[in-house]
Amino acid sequence: MDLGLSEEQEMLRKSARDFLRRECPKQLVRQLDESEKGYSPELWRKMTDLGWMGLVFPEKYGGSGHSFLDLAILLEEMGYDLVPGPFFSTVVLGGLTILAAGNEEQKTEFLPKIARGEMILCFALTEPTASYDAASVKTRAIARDGEYVINGTKLFVLNANVADYILCVARTKETRDPEDGITVFLVGARSPGVRCTLLKTLARDKQCEVIFENATVSERSVVGRKDEGWPMVKDILQKAAVAKCAEMVGGAQASLDMAVNYAKERVQFGRPIGSFQAIQHYCANMAMDVSGSRFITYKAAWKVGEGLPSALDAAIAKAWVSEAYGRVALSAHQIFGAIGFTMDHDLHLYYRQAKAGEIIFGGADFHRAVVAHELGL
């Protein structure tokens, strides 16, 4: 057992940290949060130059063949600095899906472009039911003359507003088993019949409504197997949950660091408020939450990377981190008091992310249900 990072991982962490502190100041985060696109092509280019886009892709697809755990470490740092943009959608949701389930032609076409920073993807699964189960997939794709015609509404699709391609999860067959008959398509985001509307959200992340109205794709755009796409969706949701946990661990750590620094400086009653036991105990609880979150996330990320069965560990991690980040951000707000309740202060940026992170890819209750299922309940 080795719970330490390798020298290479420490270097990755350090270089990411140094880069982001420099290149992703809160001023930029705010500016992008308020913008329509939500990302900076300049920052995107620089992140590409560092090799982040292709970090986990094999070299033959223009990547550098790093592990999923390495990606988690990078995401943790991105979460610390609240990097806005479609990295998660493109690399985790899009790239890893194509890498895991795409055919050779798709891999050769898409992965090198992602690695070069030339393509943005998004993943359209959820619909107005807003849940992550197969029964909620009502969007239909009907085969017609060697093509598929897609109709339906996808909701809460992250970064569809800037995506080049949408991975659309659609129903191609109706049977009694909702998990049967699901197919995933690569749909050009600007092709006819695809309409994207940006939603205004708490975290000011770029979630969209995407309406497919007789959008037509060729048979070649099927990713994985026709009608048998659900296991692949489940697999990517598992990875996404773990990857999101990593990002959330970074955000929770940042919230803790901010609160602790403030508690050391803020003087009331003639002494730093961090010397009061009430504040110390908040901080101790936050530190435990961050620490616990980090280790179970690493464990799940390590399992995913090793290709070991990770359904239980992923669910445990997301069930815990979903609530832990929220608790940490809330305590940080309590410590900052009134000043934290302003738009000028940075803390709300984390609080918003904590809430969005809690919900996406299933919240704590959803993942506890998965844990219960894994226990045979």
Binding site: L3, A263, P272, A287, M288, G292, I316
Partner: protein, 396 residues
Amino acid sequence: MDFRFSEDEEAFRREVRQWLEQDIPQRWIELDPGIWEETEESWALAREFQRKLGRKGWLAPAYPSEYGGLELSHMKRLVLAEELAYSRSPISIEVEITVNWVGPSIMLFGTERQKKEYLTRIASGDIIFCLGYSEPNAGSDLASLQTRATEVGDEYVINGQKTWCSYGHLADYCWLAARTDPDASRHEDISIFVVPMKTPGITVRPLINILNRHSFNEVFFDDVHIPKENLVGQKNNGWYQLVIALDFERSSIGYAAGNQRIIEELVKYVKDTTRNGEALANDPLVKNELAQLVVENEVARMMAYRIAWMFSKGLHPSYESSMSMVFVSEVMRRTANAGMRILGHYGELDRDSKWSVMNARIMRMCLSSLSIGVGGGSNEIQRNIIAMRGLGLPRK
């Protein structure tokens, strides 16, 4: 990173498990004493088991071989601790105190003669210490203790009162903290002594715990004479020695494994039980509750693994141990409370009823888990440590 145990460690786990299956006395399993529930009968069984464990080198596996240990790796010690806890072996607080606090302190601060005299007998399970730290007015503020040891000729004469001495009525020695210099400041006049419990002048009075069992004691010292050579380490250096020894405390390392067993039993219970014609396992609230326990216990386990891993890297955990301790103690309390909610009225029944479920483990745990999070430094003190040592928050 690698979250796997090595082949060798897994083989060791199998070996321990197999040994425990054969060697935990049948009568112990029948008596099934939980924490703080030992009786004289179970105590005798436990001591016999601990001697057996000592012969395997597993009672004090970290000790050097010259003192009866195996110098076992930290990871194997973690494995051993997990298996002992999961199997509900006859090992409890008295062994933790003796093996993990007293022994390492003697190793670090004791004379050659003391090492020879005590360490081998600790590792063989022949002697047990009780802790003489707390006093009626010195709990969390331990440094305010008042018991005095006055140097008279070749002896120290001890006067004062200790309390919460776990199994003091059955222990062979007391590991005593007392004041030795009335003029020094409160951290600079404490010394540590080994006091045989049979020494004249010692009176032991029972404190009946919340489970209605005799586990704690008040111990009175009235002109108790002990030879000077029973001083451990330097005179007036006791506070420092005591703080170092608190960091040896690794008893929480196996707790998550013990708690896992309870959770597994609860899972089995809900699978086997129907209520209003419906399996309890189908109740979404029950599922949610049990899943949360599994999640929390996994976090607790990772925190414990971190401690073992840090030791294995030659690092010295301090606030990390406090985190692990606080977290697992609270998970255990929540497990007991979730268990009570799931069992409902059945959770209230003690063991003597034909209606009892899970051998009344949940109701017993509901009581016993109150002590975890108080003893050995309350969770408030542990949180202070996390805040000040771990996060660098100011004292004033």
